[in-house]
């Protein structure tokens, strides 16, 4: 049913439709509204679920770990510092191969303190062993949340659904909230083969010596790579029910004969799409939305970039002293291609800085330069910095 709804509330409804049994939450902006809404649904008896209001994000993610291991579908959400506080547990969950879904309402990381949006928080966690799916809009956030549970439970891997804070979480959009029947048809009841059960006791969280540790890591790596099929299958199957796709691993928008492409991630895809319409004089530009940051879809990326001569990678996080995170990975991935495009890597919109339509011509300008831009923060104003710190 289509209705105008705030992103957080929409995601909360999506979560509720998945019938979680345990939710743990700890307040942090901009994630707060999701858990608030879930608490409201529970209070109104629209959702039968145990809500644990924990004393930290560390305990939030730990509690859902316990719940999922004990055989219940579980969910949590967080942002920024909260995600970082969870770091150790996030890695732990992936290593234990426990199926979980969490929402990351993306937000910048302090210091300096910033309560505003970028994607540094989830990008830092790209090596935690979680599947990371990024949403371009609130409809995708709803659909990806529902898909995430199926992906997690089929792959026995945790899934982090990333949606931009404020831009999506606090924005009213018209969203189709699926019906319970639709979700039930898509998502079977939670079943975890290795759950904690006195009738079939197992020991979870063992010590593994060098003799087997490498193989354990290899297994996780392979599991994430194989998860690409489940991500695609979930999107496909949900499309059959809902009529919508969220873009599989990677979405491509634009004509095949475009020589220039822009690859980005999250809600900025909407801005880029509007800008392309607004600045039609720049000719055909292919917009490539990276939905699955982990697993990183190298093969699909190569196909998407086939025929491009210029590829601009725009991201909203960086690895200080290194450069772009996605840019580096894209560059590495396309180095295997027959005739890879020139790759320009930009960061922008850090800590909530506005991403106006005018960013579009600035990005395309790079393609005309003699040398490719290895990495630049496109909207930095160095005049605000003392000369010796530039």
């Amino acid at each position: 049913m289509l209705r105008p709804i705030e992103g957080s509330a929409a995601v909360a409804h999506a979560v509720a439709l998945c019938r979680p049994q345990v939710i743990a939450g700890y307040p942090i902006t901009p994630q707060t509204h999701i858990v608030e809404k879930l608490a409201r649904l529970i209070a109104d008896d629209q959702l039968r679920c145990e809500l644990i209001s924990v004393e930290s994000e560390f305990s939030a993610i730990s509690a859902v770990l316990g719940a999922a291991a004990a055989g219940s579908r579980a969910y949590t959400a967080s942002s920024a510092q909260g995600i970082l506080l969870m770091t150790e547990v996030l890695h732990n969950i992936a290593g234990l191969r426990i199926p979980l879904v969490m929402t990351c309402a993306n937000r910048a990381i302090g210091a300096p303190v910033s309560a505003w949006n970028d994607q540094q928080d989830s990008m830092v966690m790209r090596d935690a062993g979680w599947i990371q799916l990024y949403c371009a809009n609130n409809q995708e956030a709803v659909d990806t949340t529902i898909q995430a549970f199926r992906i997690a439970e089929r792959t026995e891997l945790p899934v982090m659904v990333c949606m931009d804070g404020y831009v999506l979480t606090h924005t009213l959009e018209v969203v189709d909230i699926p019906t319970q029947q639709q979700v039930d048809a898509f998502l079977p009841a939670y079943h975890f083969a290795r759950s904690l059960d006195p009738r079939k006791p197992i020991t979870i969280g063992t010590l593994v010596t060098p003799e087997f540790y490498t193989e354990a890591r290899y297994m996780n790596h392979r599991a994430l790579l194989r998860a690409q099929e489940e991500i695609l299958a979930a999107d496909r199957d949900w499309e059959k029910i809902s009529g919508r796709t969220s873009g599989g691993l990677i979405s491509v928008d634009g004509s095949d004969d475009a020589a220039v492409g822009i690859l980005s991630i999250g809600s900025v895809m909407g801005t880029l799409s509007d800008a392309r319409d607004h600045f039609a004089e720049f000719g055909p530009v292919k917009l490539i939305g990276l939905r699955s940051m982990r697993p990183f879809p190298i093969d699909d990326l190569k196909v998407a970039c086939d025929g491009l001569s210029e590829l601009i990678v725009l991201e909203r996080a960086l690895s200080p002293g290194g450069g772009g995170i996605i840019g580096s990975e894209v560059r590495a991935a396309l180095s295997e291609a027959h005739s890879p495009p020139r790759i320009h890597n930009f960061a922008a919109g850090l800590g909530g800085r506005d991403m106006p339509l005018e960013i579009f011509p600035k990005l395309l300008e790079a393609t005309r330069a003699r040398d490719a831009t290895r990495f630049a923060i496109i909207d930095v104003d160095t005049a605000k910095i003392a000369a010796e710190d530039r």
Binding site: G95, L96, R97, I98, E156, R194, P201, I202, T203, I204, G205, T206, V208, F212, E215, A216, M219
Partner: protein, 545 residues
Amino acid sequence: MPILTRGSFANAATSLALKTGDWRLQRPQYRHRSAPCAVGCPAGENPQAYIAMVAEGNLRGAWEMLVAANPLPAITGRVCHHPCESACHRGSYDQPIAIHSVERFLGDRAIAEGWNYPLKPSSPDAPRVAVVGAGPAGLSAAYHLARLGLSVTLFDAEPEPGGLLRSALPPYRLPRTVLNSEIARLLAVGIAFKPNRRVGRDVSIDELRADFQAIFLGPGTSRPREWSVDGTVPSDLRTGLDLLREWISIGAIPTYNRVAIIGGGNTAIDLARVLKFSGVDEVHLITFQALPGPAVRREEAMSAAPREIGQALEEGVTIHDRRGVRRLIMRGNRVVGVETVHMKELGTATGERKLVSFEGTETILKVDHVIPAIGQQLDSSVFGNLLGQPGIFVGGDARSAAGTVSGAIGDGCRAAIAIRNYLDGLPPAGDEMPRPIAFDDLNINYFDHAPRAEALILEVEHRSAEKEIEAGISHQDLNAEAHRCFSCGECMSCDNCWTLCPDNAVLKADTRDGWRYAFDYDHCKGCGICANECPVGFITMFDEQ
């Protein structure tokens, strides 16, 4: 090679396959160690073992175990000086187990219930053994010979069996009904009793040797030791045992006013009490031994049973301990007093112990009679030349100077085994006693203080020479007493080792073979907690090879 599981989970209890026993430097072993009561019992009883059966509620089993060593528990429970209790480790904690009360309870219960010894009758062609003397040694020897399957004929000079038990123990200590019941049951196992046969008068040794394949001599000691003070002997001197026997057999005793009895043994105490009961004003007992007490070493203390000494004191007997008689004060050949002097046993330069009297401590005691009660010796006129001859065995007071009923019973048992071995052509068995477990090898943290069961004793004003003074203990007290036992050196199935092993390496085992637990040496790391925490010292650590 194992295959890595998803999320590296492991299956339950798979560590059992890991043999951590390889780490062990020391190995615990269940090992029986001797309880001090058993080592200390002259009759060879193992009180710890039968008390354990009492604790389990198996009174018949306890009695049968008891009579496997001592056939006369209702008697010894009353008259034994119970060195077992002096040895009892519980005495180092609060008070020793009242073993004599347990023994007496079992003996009395057997009489009341008519229990018989669990014996098989001997076969008609069994070797024949003559036992001479139906005192405690002879009765015990006869019984044990019968247990060992031999055919026994028991000779005694008196018309009734019992020896000293009958002739020298006053009924207030040993009622005749008890004595008769115990002896009757004993003789009923198939022992042929020949009364009024004094060997050397009614039957000769040669006759015995012709009719029997072995002979046990348990004649007791009948000849009083010589007694004088610097050669002075009162003309009307009579020995303590002589007087006591006379009183027991005819119920009368000479009337005295003030008497000094010399000696610290049971005869001295018994006589003192009998005299007191018969109305003698002053009964003094003079002994170089000490009144028993916590600070007194056992070998220095009076050899009479402490409870008898206590009762005698209550009844008005005056005991002058650590004193000796220096001089008899005579009027003509009659005594009018004794001069006593303080005496003490001291160590000499050579390490021996010597009785020393101290000048300046002399005291005059006015008495009209002196009665030595310092023991008897073997009348060697009949038996002296037989000792050491093949096929002839001697026991009881005639062999050792112990002079105790329980010692005689133990002697009888040892003699029976020796005779059995002799008839079978086996070498004599050694009778070395194992060393008892040390008090420090127990872990008394696991025991709580509990009062000892005390038997009821008649008030002094109700006592007489004819009525038994001490009553037995109740069944309830018996159980309480059994549960007080430390069970030194013997497993009491308390579960401590099973409970406290950090490696689950102690397992409860089938109890039918007597073992309640087993060590799982595959997993025991040899930490030694079980041995350290075993309350009874039943676990010993041994170095691994």
